[in-house]
Symmetry: C2
Subunit: 476 residues, 2 copies
């Protein structure tokens, strides 16, 4: 008497305990990856990991949940999106919201002050999901971070370089990277007349400018956050500014700005930005990077440079896929876990996080368009039988192939039909079939069939392995 | 005024909200993987995935949490170990307990009746952790499963074959695989006089025999579970039985057993076991596999063959590392999600799950013993500067190397010390350094230093890439 409700896309539908209604679905905002999607995902990960390894990054892993307090006071207005675990006795836990805070906890706990690491893992946010736009509640982040006390912008530039290299290698269309500096933002807010305790919340409003028009952002600043309208209007004159072409000229312009030039920390940050943009020139990535005062980034923990990469949709410029990667400098996060660190200096960090969900959606659409056939297995040979009662003979042939390291499949039926076996090879793109029959067994030969050309030849059992190896090399 | 408590191993210590005391630790029963551990982990995964791919397995992925009801009534007495998420509005969720139930949910939801897939992912159990013995609350499972309606034991044998191949390839010492059949167990309990509604709970008791002596298990059966002592004693005569050498002789013995021979389902299961053991012979793995009546497996969902692999400790036979993999047939699990499946037949499944935590501990100890140096990066070249103020020159040289696909690192300091740069190369095992100085830049050359031999030579800038490529090939 059980009822079945199929609801792949549906909303939250809690069922009462003991109810007869059974919902067959994955949780809202999550996804299963089928074989083809996994093949694409592995390809994307491989490309990204190759780039990380190109730069000598090591990798670490942390648990999917942390003590709840580890995540407290790290994410500003977004903290409400954290998933908590039920209190079943013992520690109070939450699912990780990103990979950055666990990384900082790891550094503080293990007294590590120098590392260059990447980490690919799932993170969790109780956001309003939009699977069509690639927004999920469970999604991957691919993070690269550098911890260490350095006296120049090389580590920040390294993050931008890796980001550009990844997006180039993925070959998913035009992209651009916006860069800004939290101390430039803070200086701008200061000289515009924002009170210091409103810096972070006004920053959150500015962060919405990539999706929301100025008028709405202004309304939020003035209406919800109580900002003086005149201050908001001054902010507007800055947040429309960005470098086009020569970053030096843009930085000169900001240095000479009558208001901004009054802020010593602002000027210092502008010097850092000048060095960063110059290093981008040395790395040959200037064409992708612009210094953009509208970039704010929502998270509380950033302290210096911030960056964000945006992908432009194919053809139509308006069809932007939006932000696909972001990052920045967070010099105080490790210290927030360990007062000893804060006392004896800092463990400064800078990093970049690539979100693969949108990249993945673009790759999937691209493959569909190109009608490229994605192989989901690596099988080289299929062992088939042309007659009944050859199950054990097939098994023995498989054993020989496995011992030779040849990737082999066979039917799990006792007496599979010839047509089914060959169709399986075709649908999975297996290049060769080895067909066994009574006469082949008696004559100590095997029939080798090329699945594409349908050509068949008899091969002696004792030269079978070398023949197959040669054939496989030829087809590669 | 914050206090810091470092407690890496410690027990559950919830802190009151608003407390000043901050605990710097990862959650109880979980672990971070450092760079060296990750290098070993990747090696273990690669070996296991190679084996799965050797057999034509595809891969899928499912979310880390499921609707709570998806996991309900699947795990028998172990259900109490499931992690629940807090009710924050919306769906009621739990962390997955294994990869098998999500797999069955995936098959039912997507109407898939045939698949051979592997899945490597973290699973969660609120167990009493023993990190020393490799028991964690968050741990990996590496699962291989075959879904499909087949008329012989080839798919069951495939699981055993893969299991043996994995343990051979991992090269972590002697192992053995116990095999049994739930219908043989059920027949045994029936003929011994266990009431049918006690089958699963008595099964759970028998499952403890690998760690607990018979007397204690018997006490649990009789004391806690109310079994007639005479019935328990009859059970004992069976659970000590296992095949040694020739499985056929053992199966004959069971077929002729005066009690067991009265159970038609038991006899049918023995025929299946005979075919399975015969296929193990064809695959050349008989020496590892024994038919063992003491094997029960705790989970509710098994319906046919069950298996478990045990690793023997090095040298001392008593020093057993214990169970490292297990699996079996679960023909009714997919149907439990979809009444239509149950009505129209079944989607039978069989699979094996390898737990890497213990394997990983053995590998780690082995590497430590052999003092093998594990490289945690793949860097080929380090760009160093011999003088001050060469930051931008270094960056340009790095750019050329990256464009050529050469894995390159440099210091993030503006003016790094020569000694620090060379020590970095040594400690990370980077084979070559390229040293830049004013004179080299003027003469359009670079000094190439072999880190191991300390030999140095000047290479013209325009033949640098080809020289490095050649050198790298020579060192491989």
């Amino acid at each position: 008497n059980t009822m079945l409700v199929i609801d792949k896309e549906g909303g939250d539908a809690p069922t009462a305990a003991g109810s007869q209604k059974m919902v067959l679905k994955n949780p809202k905002g999550t996804r299963d990856f089928d074989q083809k999607q996994m093949a694409i995902r592995e390809k994307v990960f491989r490309t990204i990991i190759d780039c990380f390894e190109m730069h000598g990054a090591e990798t670490i892993d942390t648990p999917v949940f942390e003590l709840k307090e580890t995540l407290t006071n790290k994410y500003g207005e977004d903290s409400k999106l954290i998933y908590d675990l039920a209190d079943q006795g013992g520690e109070i836990l939450s699912l990780r919201y990103d990979l950055t805070v666990p990384f900082a906890r790891y550094l503080a706990m293990n007294k590590i002050s120098n590392i260059k690491r990447y980490h690919i893992g799932k993170v969790y946010r109780r956001d309003q999901p939009s699977t069509a736009r690639g927004r999920f509640r469970e999604f991957f982040q691919c993070d690269f971070d550098i911890a260490g006390q350095y006296d120049c912008m090389l580590s920040d530039a390294e993050c931008l370089l890796i980001l550009v290299q990844i997006l180039q290698k993925l070959d998913i269309g035009k992209f651009s990277v916006k860069v800004n500096h939290r101390q430039v933002l803070d200086a701008m807010m200061e000289v515009c007349g924002v009170e210091k305790d409103k810096f972070r919340t006004i920053c959150s409003s500015i962060d919405k400018l990539d999706k929301t028009p100025w008028d709405e952002v202004r309304a939020e600043m003035v209406g919800q956050k109580g900002l003086d309208p005149a201050v908001a209007d001054r902010i507007q004159t800055y947040v429309v500014m960005k470098s086009q072409g020569d970053a030096n000229a843009f930085i000169d312009q900001l240095r000479n700005d009558p208001l901004l030039s009054k802020s010593p920390t602002g000027l210092e940050a502008l010097d850092q930005m000048r060095q960063l943009m110059s290093l981008c020139g040395c790395y040959g990535i200037s064409e992708f990077v612009s210094f953009d005062l509208s970039l704010a980034r929502g998270l509380d923990y950033y302290t210096g440079t911030i960056f964000e990469a945006t992908l432009q949709g194919e053809g139509n410029a308006a069809e932007s896929v939006g932000s696909i990667a972001g990052g920045g400098r967070y010099d105080d996060l490790v210290g927030s876990f360990d007062p000893k660190v804060s006392r004896s200096g800092k463990i400064p960090c800078v990093g970049v996080s690539v979100g693969i969900e949108r990249i993945f959606a673009v790759m999937e659409a691209k493959l569909l368009k190109e009608k490229e056939k994605v192989r989901t297995t690596k099988t080289q040979v299929y062992v088939a039988s042309a007659q009944k009662n050859l199950m054990e003979e097939r098994a023995k042939l498989c054993r020989d192939l496995y011992l030779a390291g040849i990737k082999t499949e066979q039917s799990f039926k006792m007496n599979p039909k010839m047509l089914d076996q060959l169709q399986y090879c075709e649908s999975y793109g297996i290049p060769f079939a080895l067909v066994l029959g009574e006469s082949e067994i008696q004559n100590k030969v095997v029939k080798l069939r090329d699945i594409t050309t349908r050509a068949e030849e008899l091969i002696p059992r004792d030269s079978l392995i070398e023949t197959i190896r040669r054939k496989l090399q030829e087809t590669q």
